[in-house]
Structure formats: C-alpha cells, structure tokens
Subunit: 354 residues, 2 copies
DNA sequence: CTACGCTACCCAAACGATTGGGTAACTGCG
DNA sequence: CGCAGTTACCCAATCGTTTGGGTAGCGTAG
C-alpha cells in the first residue's frame, strides 16, 4: 500500500475514466465538446456523470499532453520594450484580459528595444511553441517581421506599426494633428517637438502628424524644432534642455510625444525659472493616469491603450485562424489641461512671430 | 509526393537520430547532459556529431513533450496587482531576467488586488502546471498562502511579506525609519503619513517603521495623522486633500509610502497654493525613475526593485529544490531632494510644536 | 427477415522526450 | 584462453490527451 504522500499529482483523464468504468476517450470527448462533438460521443446521462466527477475531482487537462497531440499550446508570446513603461504595461493588461477570455495564456518578455534581444526573446517564445507572437517593440525597418513571415509564424504588431503587417495601434498621426490644432488655436506660433525614438512608428507618426498639420495651418517649423529623445523622463528633460539652450529663441509650446518625456520637459522648464502653462505650454501623449494628477495637470492625447492590447489579441487569433486581417488604428482624443490651457503670452508671440 | 508546405514543423529528436543513424535516446542523452550524464552515453565523436547537427537544424526540444515525461514545466507563474504599477513591473523585470538565466519561462497575470481574482489567476497558473508561483500581491491575513501550502505547491512572496512564509521584499520598516529620522532632523514636528492600502505589508511596515521611530525620537503622531489610501496618484491626492482640509492645523511634512501617491499629494498641495519643499515637505517611496526628474524633485526611499525580483526567483528555485529558505529583506536607501531638503519653516514649527 | 442506420461506446495509435535497463563488442588481466 | 569491466550504444515503456476508426446492440423500413 503506497502512501498517498502530500504532493498529490493532478487527476488525469484515465483516473476519471477508471472511476466511471468507461474509456478515457469517452471522457475526453465529453469534456471538451461544445456539445456538437459530444453529440454522439456519449449519452446525456453519461455525459452528466462525467462532467460531475470532473468538477468534483477538480480535473484540469494537462496542457503539455494536450499540445503534444494537438500541436497547439494555447499560449501567446508578447514582447515589449519594457513593462516598466506604463504604456506597454497597460496594453499588456488588455492583452492578458482578452487572452484569458479566449483561454489563452501569455508569456511576456522585455526586449529593451534592443534588436538582438528582440530576436533572442522571440526565439525563446518559439522554443516554447507559442501559437503566435504579439510584438510591441518593432523597429522601423526591422527585418524580424520578414523573417517571421518567411517562417510563417503567426504574429501581429502592437503599439507600433510596420507597413504591410497587421497591427493594433493608436492613430498616432491623428494624435499629432490634434495637438497641432490645439496649439495653433491657442495662439502659439513658435513650437517644438520632443519626438521620441526615431525607430518607433509611434514617435514618427505623432511627429509627422503634428508637423504636417502645422505646415497646413500656415505655421513654420524647422528640423531644429524637432528633437529626438528617449521616451522616459530623463530623455524628455535632456531634450527640453537642448531646446531651451539653443540660440534663436525658445518655443512657446512643446509637444512631447510621450507623457513621461513631457514630465521631464516640465522639470527642465521649471529649472529655468519658467512656468509651465504660463511661459511655455506643454502637451504630452497617452494620457497616462499621472497626467491629470500632476501638480500642473498635463494636457495629453489619450490613446486607448487597453483596447489596443485587446484588439491585438483579436487580430492574432484571426491570423492564426488563417484570415486575412487589416491593421487597426484606434482614434485618440485630446484632453486639455492647465499645462497648455492658456492662450500664448502676447509678448512671446509677438517677439517670435514677427 | 507531398508538398513540403510553408509551415515546416520543428525538428524532433527522432529526426536527428534518423539522420545520424543512431537511436533517439542517445541523441537525448548527449543533448541534455551536463557532460556527466553524457559520459558513458556516447563517444565524444558521436556526441560532437549530434551537437553539430542539432545546431545546424536549429533543434529545440518540445517543452510539452519534455514536461509530460519529467513532470516539470520549467515555468513559473507570477501574480501581481497590476503591471501598470511601475514598482511591480520593475520587480517583474528582475524576475524575467533571473528566470531566463535559469532557463525558466514566466507567465504573469494581474490580480488587481482582488482576492477572488488572485485565486482565479493562481488556479489558471496551476492548470498550466507551473513549477511554482511568485505572488506579488498577497494580502495581510489572506488564506491563499495556507491553501497553497496545504496543497504543497511551491511558492514565494515578492514585494509584500507574510509572516511564516518565504518572501523577497524591501526592508520597509527600515525605510520608514529613514524617513522619520530625516524629517526629524530637518526640524519637522507636525507630520502625517499617506499610508497606502492597509492590506499590503509594504504599507503597514513603512508606516509602522516611521511611526515607531517618530515616537522613539520624542515626536508626536496620532491616528488622525495617518491616512490610508490607494497606491496611485489619485489616491495620494485624495489623502492629501483630507489632510489639508482637516481642522487643527496642517502638517509641515508628509510621508507618502509610494511615489505615485506622493505625486498626487504634491498636486493637492499646489492646488492649495502651497509650495512643496517650502511650505510642506513631501517624501515618497521606491525612488522610481520619475522621482528625481519631477519639476520639484521628490525625496524618496529607494528600494532595490529589480533585485527583489531576482531574489524571488532564487528563493523559489530553492523552495522547489526542497530547501528550507529564509525570507529576505533588502536594505533601502533614502535620497533627499528638493521636496524635503529645506529645514522646516520656523513659523510653522513654532506654531505647531508649542 | 434482412439490411441499414443510429447510438454509445471502446480501441489503439499517435505526439516527442526521457530514462531504467539491457547487450554486443572490445580491452585488459591473470 | 576465460572472465570481468568498460564503452557505446539500443530498446521500450511511459507521461496524458486526442482522434480516426472500429463495433455491438438496437430499432426500423422495405
């Protein structure tokens, strides 16, 4: 007589079958049927007995065994630059929710926006035999997407887009346009952009959306008014310092393509003895929960981060199902707050426009 | 003749064995041996041939098949309140790094600090047959830990501790003490604490560390000076408003047990027309990357978040190996910045101490 | 009465890796 | 030369599920 031991191993199909005096295959059919496969697999009386016992014993199928047979793991791999970036973390929450609803699990890894690490992490995911990948860190011009396509690995992009591949993103061009309209309407004529990383479509689209609309409105903006930077607070601070130090006059408004960069910029502005919202307007992007709560509330373009994550899962599921899918660009919305609510100071406007 | 198709399936052990004209078991032994098991399994010439071919063909073992046999998945489950909390996201980065180094994968899920969801997510992880759990969201008095223990499931706690169970945390009591010493030394006598959620050991320990040290120093602090709140910016704002609205004088210094709550508090203070660092000192906790970059740089206690995550993995690995492990409490460090650098205004001090 | 079609099952072969237990062939020693 | 020991393998069972292919028993239409 073997001791039961403390480390009880999980119930198997065979255990259930033995206890019910029927064959494991019957149990299997009953259990995963959506009542279409079950029809014909067992009498409804048997089916009920099976389901009852499974519930009682807390049966849950071994995913390893199942995927060995079915060649599907019911798992996705998600790669993001870093989860400590609130934006990606929030998108991942959407991914997790939607994946769980569809009974998928997710592995997440950070690539730190490093192409080599991206590739390495993707390989780890594939070695885990994930059914598909969600890439939240794709770089403009990266060849990873082509490689994955060549290996016919199902994947979708999230947050950043790449022409020709399915993605779930914010309509960043529109986001940039919203900011241009707002700053123009409040009387600013000398503006600058803290543009983010030039390898990210988010940064590129927000910047070009802003720039193109600004020119359409009749504004002037030169290359020197656009400063590329990291997406974090420190990157924003450095970029703002560069803008404030330059010869030829400082801008009356700054559009930072990311809230954290905007916060860094606000710090730099204050260090110069200037007041955000009075002397210089600042607008951010993503409308993270922080923006509205800052000492000087930050105007920001709200992107539907959670929804972007959820949609990425939906897209990926359709790609896996073999469908041809279209990329999504979800509409952003501008929230105007104290950091940019005031009409541009006349003095600054006159000095810089004339 | 069957078309090869585009969706090539992965190479198996059997493929390699067939190509080399040897038995799959030999290939297996060669491949995972740490050269101790390999010794006796194959001649070094054969071993070399095997390794070479495996490399060429890009062989990677099917984890499902392996875990079916070995009863180990080489995967951990990680549960956090929310990854959009920078603190937990950073700890998770540490977890991911350390897990990857040990060839483990990780599933992460958000529990939103909801006990029911906690349990549900844990069950999902266990249904995935993870080798162990890292819980970053445990509540004081939760019975989940006891249940898991009763089911002899390997797990460790992270970020928050629970007496009697292994955990990897910051020494939050010491963190609170550091802040008490600092505020006392800078002349503050009327202080308040934005204490966070009362179910989190982090909040409890930081608060009691502060409070006890404050009393030891000869200070006075009553229950009304301690306001429980959510950990986010909005929670901090609300708590600060409550403190500023109360009758009987406002504090000259506020300790928020979390940087985000501190930022919210800074907002509330500014809304009242007061200046952080001049009229009221504010100190946060965790020293997130934001703190130093804020318009008014925030004093904060730095907790080694990445290291806490890494150590959690180490602990869990040892628990899985059957070792008896001790909880870790990593030392925090206080960084003093503009938000609390000034000596308390004499007027405020005199008015409130007398 | 026979053939056919259901119903409600059972059977067994996978899936890919691991591992305890062989066993031929060779070496070395007395 | 006989025997033990070693080397370098092979064999086969096993993990838990899934799934294509039976089949016994029964009802019923022709």
């Amino acid at each position: 007589m073997r001791a039961e031991g403390t480390g009880r191993q999980p119930i198997t199909l065979k255990d259930l079958a033995a206890e019910l005096g029927i064959h494991p295959s019957t149990v299997s059919r009953v259990l995963h049927s959506t009542s279409e496969i079950a029809r014909g697999a067992a009498s409804s009386a048997t089916a009920e007995r099976v389901r009852k016992l499974a519930r009682e014993r807390g049966y849950s199928p071994d995913p390893g065994a199942a995927s060995l047979r079915t060649r599907r793991t019911k798992a996705f791999g998600v790669i993001v630059p870093r989860l400590s970036d609130l934006v990606l973390a929030t998108m991942y929450e959407g991914v997790e929710e939607a994946a769980a609803e569809a009974r998928y699990s997710t592995f997440v890894m950070n690539s730190h926006d490093n192409p080599e690490e991206q590739r390495r992490k993707a390989e780890i995911m594939l070695a885990r035999r994930v059914d598909g990948l969600i890439l939240g860190d794709i770089h403009a011009g990266s060849d990873l997407v082509h490689e994955l396509q060549a290996r016919s690995i199902p994947f979708v992009l999230m947050s950043r887009r790449y022409p020709g591949f399915p993605s779930s993103t914010c309509d960043d061009v529109v986001g940039g346009e919203l900011v241009a309209d707002h700053l123009w309407d409040t009387g600013h004529r000398a503006v600058a952009v803290i543009a983010g990383e030039p390898f990210a479509s988010t940064a590129l689209d927000r910047t070009s959306g802003f720039r193109d609309r600004w020119l359409d409105l009749g504004g002037r903006i030169s290359d020197a008014d656009i400063v590329w930077s990291r997406f974090d607070t420190e990157g924003g601070r450095e970029a703002a310092e560069a803008l404030l130090d330059r010869r030829g006059g400082i801008p009356t408004a700054v559009f930072a393509v990311n809230d954290f960069a905007a916060i860094g910029a606000m710090g730099a502005i204050r260090s110069r003895g200037l007041t955000v919202g009075q002397d210089i307007a600042v607008v951010g992007f993503n409308d993270t929960s922080l923006a509205a709560q800052l000492p000087i509330p930050l105007s920001s373009v709200r992107s539907p981060m959670l929804e972007i994550g959820r949609r990425a899962v939906e897209l990926l599921r359709r790609v896996i199902a073999g469908e041809q899918v279209e990329s999504l660009r979800l509409k952003p919305e501008l929230f105007i707050r104290e950091s940019s609510a005031a009409v541009a100071a006349a003095a600054a406007r006159d000095a810089l426009v004339g």
